[in-house]
Amino acid sequence: MLAGSLLVASFVIFGALYLAPGSALAALSGGRALPAASIAILDQRYHLNAPFLAQYWYWLDNAVHGNLGISITLRENVSTLIGNRIWTTAGLVLYASLIICVLGIGLGVLAGLRPGWLDTSALVTTAVTAAIPSFVASIVLLLVFAVKLGWFPALATGGGGFRTDVKTFTLPAVALALSSLAIVARVTRAAIREEADKEHVQTAISRGIPPRQVISRHILRNAAIPITTVSAITVASLIAVSAVVETAFSMNGIGAYLVQAAQSKDLAVVQGISLVLVTAFVVVNLLADVLYAVLDPRVKLGTKAS
């Protein structure tokens, strides 16, 4: 099913070439005038004279082997261009995922297990942060922590060694994580509450199992199923939104590069990065399904995590 998604997505990405007004050549060149030699190269590389499906096949085949074409603006291999920047994005997404998982799940577990002031304050905080889009969060964080307090640098370029990277990536990671934190915390809290009320927990208590074990072996263990699913889906959603945060913080990741390429109508780059992003998205969703099947023995692999 997910492989099907990927295939269809790649088809759409490729098909964009023909959806554009004008000829495929015009789309590839971004409306620029090209010397005859370049046109010949494009013709050959994209097999522009072959039937549509054949072209799709060539493009896909190339992509799978790592050849994503050439950037019309920078005259370099798209793959190389992506490769230079992908670690920035990967680092950002990973950092943000870490924040979401640790803070979001942690907050949710605490709020779920202990009703009281912690619970209500968590609900209120998450309700507010959920509504703040990442680009707004970015500028607010920049203002407060970079400009006013000076704790973090305002510009975040990667490659400065691990320690510096962690520091420079903190603000963008938080901006990226903020709105997703809310939903992870809420789902975690709801899952914990629901599980704690279940009958099998009563059975465990009735047999004198100590509270700590009841929580870890029954409540947390069972709630882990919906919690993992929502966390994985949330992380997957980060992949697309990272472009916004990268732009706001002037980071040189593939998200920001995607936007620049879109603005300069460099279709090959856009297609290449889109393909990478969609693949990552699908892979993470696949991981979510696998984790779900591992955690819940009632489910057979192949059924979708709802």
């Binding site: 099998h200 059975t203 208590i205 009735s206 047999r207 004198g208 100590p210 029954h218 263990r221 023995p297």
Partner: protein, 326 residues
């Protein structure tokens, strides 16, 4: 009787939120005795079991005493409570909901042994395998997941698990209601046999008066959160002390009799929350009600070897039996 009661419940009241779930429960179980607890839904029988098992929901307040072997259960904590839970085991109505679906059967069965009694894993699994044999299941079920077993098998697993700690009292809350008739009979047979083998007392909760009569030594009847009658099981049928019990017995469809319509009790069963404070809760539906019944709450008094909560119990002696159709 001079023998010390194993479990003694006196004046148990439980309030949940604004309403009273239990308004006066008194019962006593002797060692190795089978006491039935019968009532319609809302009568409070499950709540009684939960109270005895210290499983009351959050926010429930209780009054009265529950004494196990003379010790006050309500005051137990920590180690004493854990030991108590080892001695009093519960079997629940819907086994599928009461067993953790993501852990294997063996894990479920041995969990209490391994965490509480500190039994080594291998030995715990041996004991579990042996107990499974006693309930008629193969040891290979230990590695299965609950969703791979049928309802009847799961209930037997639950019973086996409950018995692993060698409890002296088993609280069975409608253990066969969720099962089909054939499986019911099997599980009942296993329960009866194991009770004898393990020398346990049994509190058997059901809504089925007949079933209670077949299995129990004595039966207690509950209505609107109170115990309204306690009687030897057989006598409950032929010679009940309380009008409600008589009505219950009469309302049962009986192949032997032929009647045009089922005799139903007029009105609907009251739960503890709806019952009035200063009157007999059953009076509005009672065929033998007198004006005094609406003015004072009857106490549970001894009548002829049993107990009844009825102002007119002595008067009605001998007239409430299941006799000819009126």
């Amino acid at each position: 009787m001079a023998t010390q009661h194993l479990l003694e419940v006196t004046g148990l009241r439980v309030t949940l939120g604004d309403g009273a779930a239990l308004r006066g429960v008194d019962l006593a179980i002797r060692p190795r005795e089978v006491l039935g607890l019968v009532g319609e839904s809302g009568s409070g029988k499950s709540m009684t079991a939960r109270a005895i098992g210290r499983l009351l929901p959050r926010g429930a307040r209780s009054a009265g005493t529950i004494a196990f072997d003379g010790a006050d259960v309500g005051k137990m904590d920590g180690g004493a409570l854990r030991r108590y839970r080892g001695q009093v085991a519960m079997v629940f109505q819907d086994p599928r909901a009461h067993i953790n679906p993501v852990r294997r059967v063996g894990d479920f069965m041995t969990e209490a042994l391994r965490t509480n009694a500190g039994v080594k894993k291998a030995e715990a699994y041996d004991r579990a395998a042996e107990m499974l044999g006693q309930v008629g299941l193969h040891a290979r079920n230990l590695t299965r997941y609950p969703h791979e077993l049928s309802g009847g098998m799961l209930q037997r697993v639950m019973i086996a698990a409950a018995l692993l700690t060698r409890p002296r009292l088993l609280l069975a809350d409608e253990p066969t209601t969720a099962l089909d008739v054939t499986t019911q009979a099997e599980v009942m047979a296993i329960l009866a046999e194991l009770r004898r083998d393990f020398d346990m007392a049994l509190l058997f909760i059901t809504h089925d008066l007949e079933l209670a009569a077949a299995v129990c030594d004595r039966t207690a009847v509950m209505y609107a959160g109170q115990v309204v009658e306690v009687r030897d099981a057989e006598l409950l049928h032929t010679d009940p002390l309380h009008p409600y019990t008589a009505a219950l017995a009469a309302a049962r469809p009986d192949i032997g009799r032929s009647r045009a319509r089922l005799r139903a009790i007029p009105g609907r069963p009251l739960s503890g929350f709806e019952a009035p404070a200063g009157a007999c809760a059953f009076a509005p539906r009672c065929a033998h009600a007198a004006p005094a019944c609406g003015q004072a709450m009857p106490e549970l008094i001894g009548v002829d070897g049993g107990m009844a909560r009825c102002l007119r119990a002595a008067e009605l002696r001998g007239t409430l039996g299941v006799t000819a159709d009126a």
